[in-house]
Symmetry: C2
Subunit: 317 residues, 2 copies
């Protein structure tokens, strides 16, 4: 089954258009996990990376029935170099074993040949001296398209070869997003131009649900642009960051869904991972993973209620 | 001494405006190195990553007196995950021990808080459970600015804290570079707008040679745009990819130098690393590192001759 149809099947199975961001930072990980890792590995890089993995593992075990996918922010893993990439790899393996789709949020970009090396590393196979690796890889990768369409093609090729997908940055959630993304090209804003290029590129790759494996990142903080993009690229699934901590609400993300209630995967990271800091006092939570699961449930209630009010709630949810 | 002044001191000491790209790919590494690594580590990811490190080490030992800096293309290292990052780290350490400046070519980008995590990981210190790491880090990082100026600021902050620098993508060397980079903003092309923003941001950070630590990537394949940018951002050093394999000539990069012969660092990767494939028959070269050094000498002769003809050769070179 095409990767985008696998994602939609999981969204339907769980009646949940939510992706949980696993972007762990050591300072926010519960103290008992950190104490145990320091006991085992000393005050080392290894201990920090293991704390990240164990935190992720506990969250995955608790949330995997509630969401179709998780998104791993690569910055948080490569910060710990070799040890961090090992934590990344093991998190991906555990998530996929639990039936979750995995989005590798790396925002990679480079020209031609180098883009193909990034694509192979993140989504495909790694060339060894003789043969290639067979590691478990994520299902989707985020990429930055601004260097030009010939820098996107190598990623698309590797996706086709290995049944993977992309979420391509179109409109980011930061306050200064419009500064360069709204430059004008052929009479329309640059982000709109990129959206049309992605839609065109994806039009030959559409799966049985009407979506292609070439998705788009569309920030929750820009509801008007989301409405424009939803109609400009009907076959692109949107990965929507910015709900919760960054100020995005269910009302603001509703435009990213199509009339049938599909087409958007709403991300929350800190609001889920660190829910325990709202519900507990101090930094020794007894049930941080349970708190995360309850935060996912509350987010799901919020989104489904808003979808229902907009007349967009899928019948089978 | 400010990092950009350190770079200029090395350029002067070696009379060489050249950066060698260490972007090794296993298929092009000389067979004897690969055979030895497979003998030691079997046909593993470790063997591939060790072959990359040993290839780099031999090149560094031969070229370090001829160039001020090396540039490591991160895609080639993270392809081998944890083992690849270890090869990256050891290459950085060896290069710096040999007196070379190091450019980490990762083209990282993300919004606010995540940008600061990337910056800390690549250029600063990594937070552990208690304290931070003290690893040797590269001197410069390439970043992609297209998400907006508030995504550049966190990188600049970490640079100021740790005396590091950036090369910010302004005009890339790929054929479709103009497609999005020439969108119009306030009546000028986007890449020009970004150049002006970088120049303004760097104007308070200028060192004793008239340059700031905020450099720009300006592709060798666009000489007219290089001339425009050279005058738009006089205090930015240019990292110029595209010489050699991508078709850029000394004549095409001359516009990236200012009238005094400074302001540009010309990169060559494959043309240097794999020079042995031109000078030897077969894939068992006796002196691949010597061939690389001779290719650097030829490139230096070419650039200095062209600088001299343009009346730009610095007197002390």
């Amino acid at each position: 089954m095409l990767v985008i149809d696998q994602l939609i099947a999981e969204i339907n199975r769980k009646s949940s258009p939510i992706v949980v961001g696993l972007d762990p930072e050591v300072e926010h990980i519960p103290t008992p996990i950190k104490d145990e890792m320091v006991r085992q590995f000393g005050p080392t890089t290894r201990a920090a990376a293991e704390a990240i993995y164990h935190f992720n593992a506990a969250l995955l075990d608790e949330i995997h029935l509630l969401v179709p996918a998780v998104k791993l922010q690569m910055a948080c893993y490569e910060l710990y170099e070799a040890e961090g990439l090992s934590a990344f790899r093991r998190t991906v393996e555990r998530a996929k074993k639990l039936g979750l789709m995995v989005i590798d949020d790396s925002k990679r970009n480079d020209i031609g040949h180098t883009a193909s090396i990034y694509a192979r590393g993140h989504l495909g196979r790694t060339p060894l001296i003789d043969g290639t690796t067979e590691t478990v890889k994520p299902d989707f990768l985020t990429i930055n398209p601004y260097l030009g369409s010939d820098t996107i093609d190598p990623f698309v090729s590797v996706c086709q070869e290995h049944n993977k997908g992309l979420f391509i940055l179109v409109r980011t959630s930061n306050p200064s997003a419009g500064e360069y993304q709204e430059a004008t090209v052929e009479g329309i804003p640059l982000f709109h131009r990129i959206a049309l290029d992605i839609e065109k590129r994806g039009s030959t790759l559409i799966g049985k649900n009407g979506f292609s494996p070439l998705g788009a990142v569309v920030g929750a903080t820009w509801p008007e642009e989301a409405a424009l993009l939803r109609s400009a690229m009907p076959s692109s699934y949107f990965l929507v960051p910015g709900y919760g901590t960054q100020g995005g609400t269910a009302e603001q993300v509703i435009n990213s869904f199509n009339e049938k209630g599909y087409g958007a995967l709403i991300n929350s990271s800190r609001g889920i991972m660190y829910a325990y800091r709202q519900s507990q006092s101090g930094n020794s939570p007894s049930d941080f993973a349970g708190d995360a699961a309850r935060a996912v449930q509350a987010m799901r209630d919020d989104l489904l209620h808003t979808l229902s009010q907009a007349g967009k709630l899928p019948a089978n949810w």
